[in-house]
């Protein structure tokens, strides 16, 4: 057990946990933010995607000890009022079915847009490797493009 000071969604949290515990479980079970989801535990599905600094990471395999001083952003902190262009686009395109994987999808897409404001289909294919068993891929692609257009005015 060890103490870690984490900055999550611009708020400081102190947790006393096993240094090997993946960030996902620290966020969910100790900090109490449950928007970030557990899907596979081996960084294959992307349901657990959060931002570490500006980078999208799969938090289910990231030991809390390796977070260091980097700021963590979860779906709850992506925007203050739930109005990030991707969140608006997701609603406009009516993307979710069961909805479980969508937080991870949005976080992956947000990091992509931050890096490349006008992603091509190829960029989307290469970056959006998150699994959606409901297979909402058609609308996810449309929503990313809509958000990208909205953001660039």
């Amino acid at each position: 057990m060890a103490t870690f000071n984490l900055t999550i969604n611009k708020k400081k949290h102190t947790v006393d946990v096993d240094p090997q515990m993946p960030l996902l479980w620290v966020i969910r079970d100790f900090v109490g933010l449950t928007g970030t989801k557990f899907g596979c535990g081996i960084a294959e599905c992307g349901a657990c995607t959060v931002h570490l600094g500006d980078t999208a990471v799969r938090s289910c395999m990231l030991p809390v000890k390796s977070v260091g001083n980097k700021e963590i952003t979860t779906i709850e902190g992506l925007s203050e009022k739930g109005d990030h262009p991707l969140q608006l686009a997701w609603k406009k395109m009516d993307v979710p079915q069961c909805g479980y994987c969508q937080a991870g999808q949005i976080m992956a897409a947000a990091a992509l847009l931050a890096r490349k404001s006008k992603p091509t289909d190829e960029d989307i294919n290469n970056t959006m490797t998150n699994i959606c068993r409901c297979c909402t891929y058609t609308r996810i692609r449309k929503a990313i493009k809509l958000a990208s257009e909205a953001a660039s005015g």
């Binding site: 079970d29 899907g39 409901c134």
Partner: protein, 710 residues
Amino acid sequence: MEAKAANTLKRRDFIKISTLAGGGLVLGFNWLSSCAPDTKGGNLVEVNAYIKIDTNGQITLMAPNPEDGQGVKTSLPMMVAEELDVDWNQVHIEQAGLDAKKYHRQVAGGSGSVKASWEPFRKAGATARQMLIAAAAAKWKVSPESCYTASGTVLLKNSKKKFSYGDLVGQAAKMPVPKQVTLRETGAFKLIGKRIPNVDNQAIVTGACKYGIDTKREGMLYAAMVRPPAFGQTLKSFDDSEAKKLPGVEKVIRIGDKVAVFGRSTWEVIQGTKKINVTWQDDGTLESTADYQKNFKHLLKKGSDDKPKREDGNIEKAFSQPGIRTFEAIYEAPFLAHNCMEPMNFFAHVKADGAELYGPTQNPKSICGKTAKLLGLPEEKVTVMMTRLGGGFGRRLTFDFVEEAVLASKASGRPVNLIWSREDDMGGGYYRPMCTYQYRAAVDAGNHLIGWHDNSIGVTGNPSRENNFPAGAVPNLRVDAQNYKSPVPTAPWRGPIHNFVAFAEQTFIDEIAHGIGKDPIAFRLEILDLAKQKPVGKVDYNPDRYAAVIKKAAEMADWGNPREGIYQGIGSYYCFDTYMAQIAEVVKQTDGTLRIKKVYCAVDCGILINESGAENEVQGGILDGIGNALYAEITLTKGKPDQVNFNHYRMIKMKDAPDIEVQFIKSNEHPTGLGEPPLPPAGPAVANAVFAATGIRLRSQPFTKSGLFT
């Protein structure tokens, strides 16, 4: 003509009025007047408790069915809102828990929610609207006929007088329940058929939406379980000394052939399960995939001892006629996991005098009854509340994971959230059954299909769907089915049995069409025409509606006029009262492999309730069908699954997803469901396009084994 619906509701069954904290009133469907507390008498009828209106005008519609992504939390309340005559932005939707007295069919299964709710939900709205009108008429001292409604208000004709529903709700609750209600004509719908977004979208995109796995309560322990690694094994002994040393692990308890680890966090209890040293035992007869395949083929050859599931005419005679041509093919379906993105989990709190169940289930009534029986409690002592489900696909119809949570709570004496790892989930069984089908067909000299034999076997009760197309159009037809006993538990899996029968049937039809030199679509239409003109035995499907979706898809894809380098294949299918035709297009890539470029889909699901939700279901169902047909299988080595996580079980992803175009047939028929019907025809549409491109027939899944796809 307006549709008149006889109302079997009794007043006391229907309206509930009680004081809300804010001084408002609840207009529900279970009469409990503040002044007439007549609640105990009478049997409750099929509808009730769908609407709450408070005096401030807040209108809440209840969503009683489990929401697993099929959209019923949006589409069913739309039906109530339509007849209540309120605007969608005036209503708030609330998930209801299990209440078998108030609601009927609180199940997410069989693509049946929309179909079964169409009458009762609209009647609920219409009845309330009529009572609100009656209340306004009484206040104004006019006849109800001189009143009308719009956007949550009752208005008086030829005047400026109006009341909001909130103003009337107290009075309305005292009005007699109408014996007959008038439902809107289909052409007059204001809301039904529109594109209405999922009501939980805001919560989902902000991470606020709670799923079962997110449940945390005061005093609760997380629990994870060690289960037998191979199907058919039992627990001999275990050593938990290492697990108990782990920080965060509080208890370890054996429950039957499983060992439960309890603690303060999910990860710590899952780590705990890895530190339990178990000795498993079995009788040495556990089978591997190759054993199943070999035994299936042997038993198919031997033939079924049971009565055929369907028998029209005499197939032996048909197949021995001189001058006939015969076709035969064997199709093999692997076990598949459901792979709901939210792994199985459930919250249970078992106390001496009752139990609380809270979580993702497709089948609340069933788990309530089974829990009551398990604990020796009356059913009314077991409460069930459904969270939004992170996928269902049939996996959450079963009791197994709820039973574990109940037993874990009972054994630990604590409220428990029992959570499965992905390995537990994918390796845990309740699979889509492994099946093998032998199809035979006989075609006479005039190129007519005169004989059809489906000889089927699988790890499930009835691996066939005996009344499927082309049954009804073939004079000599037999369907045989054998159940293969196995320790592998199987369960309904999106479009149960249909999900693979469609593949066998629709690629076999294609093979016959090509074999006799007929266009695959023309051949299907010819068979459907026979089912209409000269039906043989029972015809489950409506040949005209079936033909209409095929023609529509052909028109959408410009069938018969292939563009350079594009190869088309069709899969059509009827199940759960919904008609689908899909045309897949594949292209050859420079490396010689194929890519699925586009799928066109025509759908007849009767009256469309929510176009956005329906289209989403169809798009997703097609991709799910393609993904599972191309990539997925669970294989076994001596009873143990070889794939337990996504690194070995490929799921379709963004880069693999073709374009999809969906069109719905305009219809005034009773609406039907879309959870399952889009999936079954997708695989055969692709396989038939593969044949068009390569001349190669795919007869087993996953298709990637053919080397034709990367």
